[in-house]
Symmetry: C3
Subunit: 477 residues, 3 copies
């Protein structure tokens, strides 16, 4: 698969030429990755990647869900089962199965990302299919054994300026501490405050009392922080303390995957629910409302400690029961739901929406909210910014619709810039490449029909790719 | 009206040339029509079509509703009234009224279909308007009297491979039996299993207890099948038996026009509601929930007998009270509603969503669900496929938005292919022509901006037009 | 900023040439402005406009909300505060602040409108920024002092045929009476029935019992009309009488900004709620439902007196609490909400939806309703028309999506034509320019891909720009 230099640019020659010029201005900019799910041990341990199937197929639920949807079962793909029942272990067999079905991904972002990665990262310029499967496997395996393909070498080759991982408050920050101990050249360090790899504070598993093991995790948080988390005040104090640990490990953001964007500003009630939940006596509705209470508490903490709040609501988690029972969480079984922001966030925005110390980045899986709620909120509150199109919408068409629907109301400067949101480290350059090309394509249209000058568009392109994410996610220092 | 060979292709010359090449690959493929509303007696009796007004205007609620919306009343168009009050009977007068208002349809799919039909089927290459109305009427009348314009002759000229009609369980299958008795050349028969004209099992009028006459129809089902439909078990047995009759008449699918996509998996409760409904004692909410119970029962039957389930939810039927009271059902008075799939279908998907014996094709009138629910479900469950854009969305812009919103998450191979969904037999080639052109146009864009190769796109175009509907609607055998 | 003659036209040269031809047909047509918020005293008093900041920045909440969203506070922009606390008063200082932030508006409709106004109305062909701020301010100030820049001179220069203002029933109609006394050339008068400036009947502040001061305003209505508004019958009689005053002042329309599109046809219940509300005893739910009752009453009045009903639902008013408390209503703090039309309007449509004496123009802030509800309603009821894309959607991309989503179901002739909906008098030509260009661009695409002929498209363009709004808003006489 050769990568055409004009890929994702408008077909019209006049507009394409403009897109080329705009895009050219962003190609040498470092990658800024303020939100993602790469395992920090990848960087701290810097071990070679495993075989191609374990690197590319098994952990990527974009790929496995498409294969499931066409009848290839998780065990045939080596996805580890919950009960340890046997599944395919041979990397080459899994790879061949994947390659045979690669036509399913025609025209999808997954294929764009993989083809870019095969070509630009691994130097393979062929089409993957049943015939070429082994050739790919062999070529990739050779490369993965080379020192230049270790994670930290790739990190530098990818020109990543900063990469944020995501940890829960009870996760160990040891990998980040290890990284903080490593010099990275030019006076920077691999980890820690201002480091190349930083963490993000994601407390979902501590704010959903009906998530199995919640009380145990709350206790664990107490142990980590030395606070008495059997009371709501102690729980809040522990979270505040733990955020300081995260900040020391470089965190500039928190992240929240609540089911809805609901917020309730009633600390007394929140404390009552917490008490009842700890005692296992909270009702279903109380447990459902607790994350809405906690979102306000976390906003309050953000005003104090400066962590930028990211909100990712609207996913029906583990919708595919068969997948969930057999293979657990995060294997591709989530489905979006209609999501409401304006009324849901009002209590939070009443409290902090215009506070210069607070920043809230809103993401969505429900694109109807782009023009109806997110753009008006981002263009109407000092604290609110529109996050990059997320997950199912992180695609050329989805990104284009995001710009078309957001930009006229909120402008470019109330959008927070691209985040790759990936656990697939090798795909990071590919994802930024798509985002920069789609933004260049959108801007080129505005230039071609004389809504902007080319100079303005080029400046905006650089801001979207580099300056805005650095500024809005607090990465400038 | 001459038909431009590049109609519906992108304007950009580079992309248009690609679209031409892709489209060229599909032009000789037979038409596969797995979902529609043509009257089977049209084929079994093979009588000449009536006059142009009765063929084109009176039964087409796309046309009559547009005319109503501009003040032309149903009686002026000869739509038969509920109480038999007089309406226009002269075909020529109705035709002239229609022609005078033909400008209302500028740029709409109705005009695309009609202009194609006038030109390609009837050889009229003029614009229809007040001046040409009589010329059209005379020309069409002459043609309609010719043997080449009888339904079965047109069927073959249209190159239709298979056409599915839609019947309720209490409808007679005699026309299909008659067709099954007729040889159709090349070893095929006109009707019956594997025939050119097959039926579809559509049980809506038996699952809505508040639809007037329900209990009477349930009784009738008992008489047809010899089952005791006064009990829920007998009712289910009768439906199962009747599905076998439909399968013998060629059916490969069932179809369900429930108000919502709601499903409830609770056969005990379903039986209770059935009993109460038969006795006329069911509450409003019970009656409303019965279709949700039955959808699971029908899925269970599909797993046994292999009928592919089609679901068409989200229409507020007979919204226009004045039309409904005066002219009855299905005359253009329905309005879409916001529709939810992910939570509504969860019970059904928990039970059968990954079952290789089950197949569910989802349609919608609410295009917000394309990217938010239908694509993730089709791309995440083995049993689920995205149906073609339906009704108000069965249009060039609607189809393009469908591809743009569905494809990046679900790919092409989780979409079920085009269905014409029409009772207007003569418009079938026009509708497939539009669909194939729009798909070629979408694919040409992906080729032009280097997301696909032209070879891949051509293969996909053939799959969308022919292979996928045959496979997914069970028409391959 | 020079204005490119091809702005907003498709980039593809073939399509652009078509767009030019279509657009050319509309450039000399008078502007018809059937819905807006210009202060009628502007025209009746014809005083010079104030300084550039007071003309362009302070009253335009599109501009101030964008600046708030980036941390520029209302007091820094001279927005008058509720409690009279001091804010910037120096026009030049405010103007400079605005100019420094003008990059925030890149590619937005606000910038399109302003750049057009600077160039076409005031003859400034530069980019506004920090460097040119003073030059703009000086140039604009000089022009604003000239007689040719008085409101009525601009009105004629803008080629406005008719401009509708918006008044509440208790507003004075004196400015309109004054205008009715002034000859305007060609046998027309500036105001009154058939005048150049007419009013619109907007009773929102009389139908929301929980809007502070409601009972007082109801009393005031009684005083104006001489009716006893302490009873519901008297209240209705007063509204009917006041509508006659508005009709004498040229009104052809009423306008309704209800929170939802809900309607209830139950006059007995409405009277009970009114009585309880007058006595301060109405419940929250009763007060919330009163506008839904009143919408039916106003429709009933429309059937009698012929005022065309406009409905603008779906705004969460004063969502930004900080803005509302500090700077009051209508300063940019509203946020859209999901809006339902089909079930909400059913009682009203059951009563009058097919009545030839009634006309209802539906607007929305929720574009998901374009294809799902508004187009099917406009294309299915004789009385219903789709209003122009409103507020956040009154933008090139928003207008294009409106046409794409509405047109295939409702056609062009069930859309009501453009309304500028502005209080910014000087921006009126700019807004109509954008609308005519976007419609030409949409039509050019339909011509380029052979869905329409160029002749048809040119005729449609003229109808959209001129004939349809005149006809549908009752401005033909």
């Amino acid at each position: 698969m050769s990568l055409h230099p004009d890929r994702l640019f408008p077909a019209d020659e006049r507009t394409r030429a403009i897109a080329r010029e705009i895009h050219q201005r962003t190609t040498d900019l470092p990658l800024v990755s303020p939100h993602g799910h790469v395992d920090p041990r990848l960087m701290s341990e810097n071990q070679p990647f495993p075989d191609p199937a374990r690197l590319f197929v098994i952990p990527d639920h974009y790929l496995t869900r498409m294969l499931f949807s066409q009848g290839v079962t998780p065990d045939q793909l080596g996805v580890p089962s919950v009960d340890g029942s046997p599944s395919e272990v041979d990397g080459r067999t899994i790879w061949r199965r994947f390659a045979e079905h690669y036509h399913l991904f025609r025209g999808t972002p997954s294929k764009l990302w993989l083809d870019y990665t095969f070509a630009e990262v691994f130097g393979i310029y062929k089409n993957l299919n049943a015939e070429t499967a082994d050739e790919f496997y062999d070529h990739l395996s050779v490369r993965l054994a080379e020192p230049d393909y270790r994670p930290r070498a790739l990190f530098d080759r990818f020109n990543i300026e900063v990469l944020a991982t995501t940890e829960t408050p009870i996760d160990s920050l040891d990998p980040h501490a290890a990284l903080a101990g490593m010099a990275a050249g030019n006076g920077r360090r691999w980890g820690g405050k201002g480091g190349k790899v930083i963490t993000t504070f994601r407390p979902d598993n501590l704010v959903e009392p009906d998530w199995p093991g919640w009380a145990e995790r709350v206790k664990q948080l107490g142990e980590i922080t030395g606070e008495d988390t059997s009371t709501f005040d102690g729980f809040l104090a522990a979270l505040r303390a733990r955020r300081q640990d995260f900040i020391a490990a470089g965190a500039t953001c928190s992240d929240h995957g609540n089911a809805t964007a609901g917020t309730v500003d009633d600390p007394v009630k929140a404390a009552q629910i917490f008490d009842r939940a700890i005692q296992g006596e909270a009702s279903y509705l109380e447990m459902q409302s607790f994350p809405a209470h906690m979102l306000i508490e976390f906003a309050r903490m953000s005003v104090e400690d400066g962590l930028v709040m990211q909100l990712h609501p609207g996913s029906l988690r583990n919708h595919n029961e068969w997948l969930y029972k057999g293979w657990g969480r995060d294997v591709g079984g989530d489905i979006p739901r209609a999501t409401e922001y304006a009324r849901s966030l009002k209590p939070l925005l009443d409290a902090f929406g215009n506070d210069p110390r607070f920043r809230l980045v809103l993401y969505t899986l429900d694109e109807t909210t782009f023009s109806r709620e997110i753009a008006p909120l981002a263009g109407g509150y000092a604290a609110v910014f529109a996050g990059a199109p997320w997950w199912f919408l992180d695609s050329p068409e989805g990104m284009m619709r995001f710009r078309e629907a957001i930009h006229e109301t909120a402008g470019f400067y109330n959008t927070a810039g691209f985040v790759d949101d990936t656990r697939a480290f090798c795909s990071i350059p590919a994802r930024h490449d798509v985002a920069r090309r789609v933004d260049a394509a959108y801007l080129s249209r505005l230039v071609a029909d004389h809504r902007m000058t080319e100079d303005e568009a080029a400046e905006v392109a650089v801001d979207l790719a580099y300056n805005l994410p650095r500024k809005i996610y607090g990465l400038e220092k």
